[in-house]
């Protein structure tokens, strides 16, 4: 096996006794003090994540019209200075990747899932979109939590929610993947230590990918490879709100058809009133409808088991039965978000 890639903050993680996990060819911190502790730092106060494994591509602004034909959201009419969550679709309307764009005057920064960086680069090349891959020349750090912004005010001007800014040192946006307020900051290797020192001096605790996963699940956010894949459309994944592109784009006819009437598989949120975790792959039935759990874990905030299940079709009942390693466990479909 080839050596894993490591983040520019790797030595810091080692000094903090991080437990590492191999993720998409990268060795990244899974936890430092424990997943639940780190989860609670972010829900109740603040914490920071090193997400330097995520792909970062600077797209030439001039290529925005081509980009518009590859994603399900309207990036052309998005104001400069805004961030956009969207999905690259294939010919079948299914997800090649879900990504974040930060739209600047001179460029569009694309942040993609680490496992999909190569795929996205090849896709952009196929459609003659020019980009500069800055993944290895920068770090990406997410500072998240109800008290994150007031600390970061001491370092940078704070943008509005879902907006982005840049200065000589930092390119950043008020975005995240935890359901909490905060910033995601891209920084060149020259200034990584300065940013890290600032976080340390303000007692912002490092949090690993373990808590990033429990936080995103509790915040009802999908993860590519689980709730989304190249066999799942944004409609099926419950992401209709991302479909704002009125022009034709790859697979748009499939998506439009699904939006109109077509029967399709459908992602639902569930909760179980115990701590028995229904993990990825657990088989589920709800009346006549069958499904499979895409992600499931213990919610530290709700103190119960939660997750997503992909049903073959719209279930007629909210009561569901999980087959957890041969044991039948009851749960229910949730219409609202896990956290209010």
């Amino acid at each position: 096996m080839p050596d894993s890639l490591v983040s520019p903050l790797h030595n810091y993680h080692t000094s903090q006794n991080a437990k590492f996990i191999d993720f998409a060819g990268w060795s990244m911190p899974f936890s430092y003090e424990g997943t639940i502790k780190e989860h609670n730092y972010v829900r109740e106060d603040k914490g920071f994540f090193d997400v330097s494994h995520m792909g970062r591509l600077e797209i030439q602004y001039n290529d925005i019209a081509i980009l518009q034909t590859l994603i399900c959201s309207d990036i052309e009419n998005l104001q400069v200075g805004k961030a956009l969550y969207s999905i690259f679709t294939n010919n079948n309307g299914c997800a090649i990747d879900d990504v974040i764009f930060w739209k600047f005057q001179d460029k569009i920064l694309l942040i993609c899932n680490a496992a999909n960086t190569l795929k996205i680069k090849e896709h952009l090349i196929t459609y003659s979109i020019s980009f500069n891959d800055v993944t290895n020349s920068t770090a990406l750090i997410a500072i998240q939590g109800p008290n994150a912004i007031e600390i970061m005010e001491g370092l940078v001007d704070i943008p509005d929610s879902f907006s982005c800014l840049q200065n000589d040192q930092y390119t950043y946006a008020r975005t995240g993947y935890t359901g909490e307020d905060g910033l995601e900051i891209m920084v060149s290797l020259d200034y990584v230590d300065e940013l890290l020192d600032y976080l340390k001096s303000n007692n912002i605790s490092p949090c690993g990918l373990g808590s990033r996963d429990t936080l995103r699940l509790e915040a009802s956010l999908p993860l590519y490879g689980f709730e989304l894949s190249d066999e799942i459309t944004p409609v099926e994944a419950g992401l209709k709100w991302t479909i704002t592109n009125k022009q034709p784009y790859l697979g748009s006819e499939v998506i439009t058809e699904q939006l109109k009437n077509g029967p399709h598989k459908i992602l639902k949120k569930f909760e179980i009133d115990t701590r028995a975790i229904a993990r990825t792959g657990t088989k589920v039935s709800a009346g006549e409808s069958g499904g499979v759990v895409t992600s499931g874990n213990f919610s530290p905030r709700l103190q119960k088991s939660i997750g997503f299940v992909m049903f073959e079709n719209q279930p007629s009942t909210d009561l569901i039965v999980f087959d957890i390693r041969g044991k039948l466990v009851e749960g229910k479909i949730l219409k609202k978000r896990f956290l209010n």
Partner: protein, 120 residues
Amino acid sequence: MSEIKYLETHEWYSLTENKITIGISDYAQGELGDIVFVTLPEVGQEFSKGESMVEVEATKTVAEAYAPMDCVIVEINDRLESEPEVINTDPCGDGWMVKAEVVNLDDSGMLYQEYETFIS
């Protein structure tokens, strides 16, 4: 209580007369991370050596604890139902899982020093 011994599958047991207390090792709880749910057997249930007795759910993954020898459950640690995190904080003490009566004695577990070499 006799000395704690360890298995390659990361359980520990301590043997007193004909009774054993069983849990998982400090190394095992560290690898699992936050433990959030434990499925314990019932008193009176019989297990053969190597059979799965307990299911341990952590945020990261699920693991099983296996019977170190043929035995019958005589007591379970009820506290784990509401406070499974005790296994993280005190795996070889308050985080014990079950007590069982030995049916076929097999005291072949590793002493700590040997186990330490095994896990390193």
